[in-house]
Symmetry: C2
Subunit: 212 residues, 2 copies
DNA sequence: GAGAGTAATGGCACTCAGTGTCAAATGGAA
DNA sequence: TTCCATTTGACACTGAGTGCCATTACTCTC
């Protein structure tokens, strides 16, 4: 099965004058310069040399600009779940996949960081994230449901998915740094947080927590 | 210390012409009738006999109407945390408090249900909820931090707070009923979900889960 | 190379949430 | 009454998002 290279389907009709990538790039620059709220869709459109109306054909909303190819990434996460050994404990698989899924190319890290700073620090985007992360939770719930032999909509898979998302978000927030002190690797933070989740946040034995 | 009864401070100046309660009541009726999105702030204001501008002096946004006295309720949760025995395991206290906090007067249940249906099913409100639930998480994080001897902003208290919120939301969603089949008590659902969280979602021993 | 068909574009007008400003209304107190 | 504090609501404005539609750009066929 050979898929054609991205964007050469030789279709009839006028060709797109820009791309999501390009618009995102313009938008990020403006967000960096003036902040998310102060940047209007008009600004972005003008900056990209397109009409305001056209912007909304590339993105459903101004909020969606910061999400890049998120939905496509989720396919990757699904594959990672599929590739875990079936006898591995559920929460161990979950932990491993979430950590792996969030491992990014070092070159991409600055952009990833700016993206996540926007999503988790701009109230409008944080609110919107709930909607986007619904897809993420679905992927987790489906995996958990498969392992548990339940339906994805039932309580335990949903609780697991919700809890996992929460822990991941806490990890991200910590990684971004509230006070901006020490710099830690995202994957390490996520691994530590999911280790805690796996143990029900119970202080093991005495208090030999594996703090770094 | 005696606090004056609600709203008789005999202040100078014009008296308020309505109340949050009253506006909420009008709004809920309209939401029920036409749905949240189709109901405009103008509709609510007109229904309550006030000006549009005045509405925004009672509520920061249309979204906030459905939240009632949420912030005040959180004080109650704080007290519940304070009243737990200090030697009780952290997650056990958390579970008990969340379950208690969400126990509502049977008379109030229908309204509570409609409120939560709005919050958890209307996308705009679900998104907005992330912002409001930030306060909820803060309360939990402060409690967890106290028990762990850490700062509320550090990773573990935050992870616990995020996970707890997630599990509570999953419980609520389940209570509302996706397909609308069997009717279960909210507190029972929350108790079961938090029991799972407490155990790290690990199938105990064989598979003797305490399913009802 | 002149249509014919197809798709993307962008302008226009509109709705609605939310905000700043300010004059008018309301009521207690001097 | 007059003064003062407070609330109200009208008006105007910004900005997101949407429906509509003529225009533009491109491919394919005759």
């Amino acid at each position: 099965m050979v898929t054609s290279p991205p964007e050469v389907p030789v279709r009839p009709g006028r060709r797109r004058s820009t791309s999501r990538q390009q618009l995102e790039s313009v938008a990020f620059e403006l967000f960096e310069l003036h902040g998310f709220d102060a940047t209007t869709v008009d600004d972005i459109a003008k900056g990209a040399g397109i009409g305001r109306r056209t912007f909304f054909r590339y993105f459903e909303s101004k909020n969606d600009v910061v999400w890049g190819a998120f939905s496509e990434q989720l396919d990757r996460m699904r594959l990672q779940f599929d590739s875990r050994p079936g006898d591995e404990p559920l929460m161990a698989s979950l932990r491993a996949v979430v950590v792996e899924f969030n491992r990014v190319d070092p070159d991409e890290e600055p952009r990833h960081r700016r993206r996540m700073e926007l999503i988790l620090r701009v109230p409008a985007l944080l609110a919107h994230s709930t909607l986007r992360y619904g897809e993420w939770r679905e992927v987790v719930a489906e995996f958990a449901a498969g392992r548990l032999g339940e339906r994805p909509e039932s309580l335990r898979p949903q609780a697991i998915a919700h809890a996992a998302l929460g822990v991941a978000l806490a990890g991200y927030q910590h990684w971004l740094g509230e006070g901006g002190v020490e710099r830690v690797a995202l994957c390490d933070v996520l691994d530590a947080a999911f280790a805690d989740l796996e143990e029900g946040f119970a202080p093991r034995s005495a208090e030999a927590t594996r703090e770094a």
